[in-house]
Symmetry: C2
Subunit: 485 residues, 2 copies
């Protein structure tokens, strides 16, 4: 692309304050995170976006394995009859299933679902593999693509196909399954907060919002910068529902035949959308260093004989940062000006920019610019790797603190329904409010305000007392409400 054309494209991004949805889409396409595919609701994850997914995979897979889980791979197709075995599950997923009906020229005897989730096929296999309590627990995860035929789609947030990990475990007792469910929920929270720098509220979903076929669903919910909530990960205690329909039984320690207790849990490429919406600004993306595809961009100031003076120093710095294990890129293209590069890499969300000009070379220094605060620092080149590592850690911390302050400032208590409605209309954000537990109140609130119960936080069930924000009846549960993606 010619420079002029590129520059026009940069300025084409709709300001965030003007139209958040448009800003989101513009940014994703302009920064080359993803592009629309020619099929309804499908996207291509471009290299710059996929690099984030690779970082997420690496950092999360490490945690999954450290807690004793192993990876495997189950088929992408699930026979229709398998989905039909668990009726709740079927009702939840059938409307979203892509059906394979032909193999080559032949019509299949039974339709195959392209997996919308894998409980059914994994349940079938577990019934073959699990015989005794000695085989338990089974702690398996898979990284895979799934397909859900969604009516309304948006890149990363809701697409016909997406990438995810899905854990599927089997245990001897309810208590062990529940422990696993919460272990993973806490792992997701720690992962998202420490690596993606997004604070989340974790808690239980209501009956209405839980996973089709689960006993209980737990989730982590983040607050995006437009004040809407995003479900960022779920962990389900499946009870014995799937064990009963797929006949997954084991001989227990007393030689009795028992159904196993199961869990399942997942996060997806939706997390990339969360990064865009939680941290981005009018200048573009802002990535936390831990998952940024490029952590440090080096821009040589191309004046005079810079190729002889500046470039060799820039190269030396790039190599030393490379060697220190940082993800660094030297933008030495001659067809673009330094100013254009500054804007371009800001748009792409690189957390730290190093500028090096003739004067910096003379003074043995670099100019560092933080993306998230735009703070400018002059740094001596000696022992630069350590300083940059510290600076990136500081950026990561600052980004989390900023997001946390935003979340706290946008979490409000509502004593009554009038307050509730005015917060939703005027401010959005999370609303903490008492709820009597009636599905009717929950449904009415949704109908009237488009807000749903995101979660019942871990410590807000049972021990609290108040009056339902909708019906004013006695309530022992305080829930987090929000409009959501």
């Amino acid at each position: 692309m010619s420079e002029a054309k590129e520059e026009r494209l940069v300025t084409q991004i709709t300001p965030k304050s003007e139209d958040f949805s448009r800003w989101y889409i513009d940014l994703i396409r302009r920064a080359e995170l993803a592009d629309y595919a020619p099929m309804k609701g499908m996207m291509v994850i471009r290299p710059y976006g996929y690099a984030i997914w690779e970082n997420i995979q690496k950092l999360l897979d490490r945690r999954i394995k450290a807690t004793g889980h192993v990876n495997a791979y189950f088929p992408v197709f699930i026979p229709e009859s398998f989905l039909r075995k668990e009726m709740e599950h079927l009702k939840g997923f059938a409307p979203e299933v892509a059906w394979v009906t032909h193999g080559g020229d032949d019509e299949l005897e039974e339709r195959l679902a392209v997996r919308p989730t894998s409980e059914a096929i994994i349940g079938f296999m577990y019934a073959k593999w699990i015989k005794s309590w000695r085989d338990l627990p089974v702690l398996i995860n898979q990284w895979a693509n799934v397909v859900r035929w969604e009516k309304v789609t948006r890149p990363f947030l809701r697409t016909t196909e997406f990438l995810w990990q899905e854990g599927h475990t089997a245990h001897e007792t309810y208590e062990q399954a529940q422990e696993e469910t919460l272990l993973i929920l806490n792992m997701y929270k720690e992962f998202v907060e420490n690596e993606l720098a997004i604070p989340v509220i974790h808690g239980r979903k209501t009956e209405r919002e839980k996973f089709a076929g689960a006993l209980a669903t737990y989730a982590i919910e983040g607050l995006m910068s437009d004040g809407k909530a995003l479900q960022m990960g779920t962990s389900h205690n499946l009870g014995q529902h799937f064990a009963q329909v797929f006949n997954i039984r084991f001989e227990d320690r007393n030689q009795n035949l028992q159904y196993v207790w199961q869990t399942s849990w997942g996060v997806s490429t939706r997390l990339i959308g969360a990064l865009v919406m939680a941290h981005g600004d009018d200048s573009g993306l802002v990535f936390p260093p831990q998952v940024a595809p490029i952590q440090v961009i080096i821009v040589p100031i191309s004046i005079g004989n810079w190729k002889d003076t500046v470039l060799p120093v820039a190269l030396k710095i790039k190599e030393s940062l490379d060697k220190a294990g940082l993800r660094v890129f030297l933008d030495d293209r001659t067809e673009y000006t330094p100013g254009w590069k500054f804007a371009e890499w800001e748009l792409r969300g690189v957390p730290l920019r190093l500028e090096i000009g003739p004067r910096d070379v003379k003074n043995n220094q670099v100019v560092a610019v933080r993306r998230e605060t735009r703070e400018k620092l002059i740094i001596n080149q000696d022992n630069l790797e350590e300083k940059i590592k510290e600076l990136l850690a500081l950026v990561q911390k600052t980004m989390f603190e900023k997001a946390l302050a935003f979340q706290q400032a946008n979490t409000r208590e509502a004593e009554n329904y009038e307050e509730f409605k005015s917060i939703i209309e005027e401010k959005r954000g999370f609303i903490r409010a008492f709820w009597c537990g009636a599905e009717e109140c929950e449904a009415r609130i949704k109908e009237e305000t488009m807000a749903t119960i995101r979660v019942i936080p871990m410590d807000e069930e049972g021990g609290v007392n108040g009056r339902c924000v909708y019906c004013q009846k006695e309530a022992h549960t305080r829930a987090i409400f929000a409009r959501s993606y």
Copy 2:
């Protein structure tokens, strides 16, 4: 499973010499590399098998990135009309396509293919992204699942769904595309030889055997221990075929509009089947240390008060090997005897076993047993990590040399068709023979002997002179023939 049942299963593996095919399947299922799924031709890759794929991914991905490629992700579905654009491509793949016809309850306007390979969808996207010579080369790879509706299937070797990486690149000139094609071919050869310890012959496929839609296909071919060849990776120079049908054009350095030159290349989970067939023996799997899920198995000899004397030392050794970055597992299960464990981990192909008994603890030593030679070594515990690393490197080297010696001993020259037929009937292996280049000779040989031209080795084209092994006419090409999977 009870011990008695497990033991019976071990002995149930058909000896390799008796029935190679049966041995292969028995071994894969008994060692828990994979299991049959309930859908025709599909398999589940179990954790022990998937760990090999993860090691392959890590080691190959590093090489793919070191040569300037980046990863991305393209949709699993391809509209039928896209596949129809390149007729050769369509003819090659249409009989093997799984077709999605419904999304939820609605019939689709156009059928979607579950990707059998991604040239068509990637071609469409490249046409959107590539405008100028400045955008070239595009060097993208993806790790993905693909589906081919195969009639005859075998775990890992040919399954309805498999996992692979597929690289798709675009270049300014034919020469650059050809250079890329061979760069990858050589990378595959180096990777398979150094990491999988399987020697391969690399060369060009004939017109008859090339990829549907390619200008030229190159491949690496390994020789399995039953004397049959296995295609282990392919690299295609696609020419401008896809560029023309998808209109992938760029403004060249002289401002003329040109079609790009493309390549594509891939290896798949078939490589796991190759590891089984190239290295396995009657006692089970033999994995090269570089990709073995477990590199070192520690078996404490459970005599007397071993839990107080032997186990703490075994644990200490496990931890020190862990810390040294080795994949090590301590089998301290009490329900199995040491002898049972020896057989079990031999069957699972762990390259090195460390036995530790009371006497070894007293003498500050361990007994090491190499899986591939069964050689027994007494090793002092001091500085054990370094010694184990050296030993594993030696095992890796020995395995490659053994496989190379086998390949060399089983590569034979055939001067005439009688010789050719008797080698194929009595010995199998690779046959090096002159070929006139006529498709008819190639087809007749296949029909009459079931042997095909695997490749024309890199240095056997043009400069050589002889007479065609089939028709005895003048020949300037020497090819490698074999029966194959």
